[in-house]
């Protein structure tokens, strides 16, 4: 009985741990996760005044994780301002699940551009 409780406790603890790690990813540590069943996470890194990769193809339902690894604040703004992230200070992260394809840019540095294609 004690063993069952201990096992259950470990399972719950591990479940909480992985959820917590996912939400507090350190900049640069987020990786593309490919799950056959669950949603997929793809990363766009902002560094050296560029979105990298600047064009990305994702599946509907997937989540994009934007990480600001640059030395100045940025944002992610849809070309026609349909949506916009909050200002991402260095080391900030923003998650976004695109429902369709979009062109976007940083409205603080208007020459920084990117493209999301949803398959």
């Amino acid at each position: 009985m004690l063993l069952i409780f201990a096992g259950l406790g470990m399972m719950i603890w591990n479940g909480c741990k992985s959820k917590n790690e996912n939400e507090n990813q350190k900049p640069g540590s987020a990786e593309q996760t490919k799950s056959a069943t669950g949603p997929r996470y793809d990363t766009v890194t902002i560094a050296n005044m560029k979105f990298s990769p600047d064009t990305i193809t994702v599946k509907k339902g997937d989540t994009l994780v934007f990480i600001n690894n640059d030395i100045v604040p940025h944002n992610v703004t849809e070309k026609d301002s349909a949506w916009q992230s909050q200002t991402l200070n260095p080391e900030d992260i923003w998650k976004f699940a695109p429902d369709k394809s979009y062109d976007y840019f940083c409205s603080l540095h208007m020459v920084m551009k990117g493209k999301i294609t949803v398959e």
């Binding site: 050296n48 005044m49 560029k50 640059d70 030395i71 100045v72 604040p73 260095p90 409205s107 603080l108 540095h109 208007m110 020459v111 920084m112």
Partner: protein
């Protein structure tokens, strides 16, 4: 008379060059800078562009100019913050030098002309034109003087990190320049 006209043309040429290129290129070539002097140039160059941005934020009503000025203020403040933190870490006290003085002398002239420019199109054009010229001059100084001459690896690394930001500012300023003819 011809000689006088030629002298007048040369004088005008020299005036334009000195206004357009506020950082003395001769000083760049001959001055050998220490790390504390490089830190001084870096902090001063960033602070000057913040000062120009503050004039624009008070004087302009153009949305594009205001956004650009706000970005300049934020970005250059971030760079100063990083430079000051690094200087503290390294125990370096920024030291005034020929390039710092040249930058400050250029700022006095430019500030005077920006304040004298008529609010509206005249000011917006003067501000953005200066941002293009200023960033071109600063990028050249960082690439040809500050990075090659910095001794400390962390200071060199910081200057290399700042370069893409300056180049993006230049591209952004050129884009605004096309809209404000």
């Amino acid at each position: 008379m011809k000689k006088l006209t030629k002298f007048g043309t040369w004088l005008m040429g020299m005036f334009i060059v000195s206004v357009l290129f506020p950082i003395n290129t001769e000083a760049q070539k001959t001055t050998k800078l220490t790390d504390p002097q490089i830190a001084s140039v870096a902090v001063t160059a960033n602070q000057i562009d913040i000062n120009y941005a503050e004039i624009a934020m008070k004087k302009s009503t153009n949305k594009e100019v205001l956004q650009f000025a706000k970005t300049m203020k934020t970005d250059h403040a971030s760079v100063i913050d990083m430079a000051v933190k690094l200087a503290k870490k390294l125990g370096v006290t920024p030291e005034t030098n020929a390039i710092t003085k040249s930058l400050l002398a250029g700022e006095v002239k430019t500030t005077k002309s920006l304040k004298a420019a008529k609010a509206g199109h005249d000011f917006d054009k003067a501000y953005i034109d200066n941002e293009v010229t200023y960033h071109e001059a600063v990028i050249k100084t960082v690439e040809t003087v500050l990075i090659p001459q910095s001794q400390n690896a962390e200071l060199k690394g910081l200057l290399e990190k700042v370069l893409p930001t300056l180049k993006t500012h230049l591209e952004h300023a050129k884009m605004a320049q096309k809209d404000i003819k």
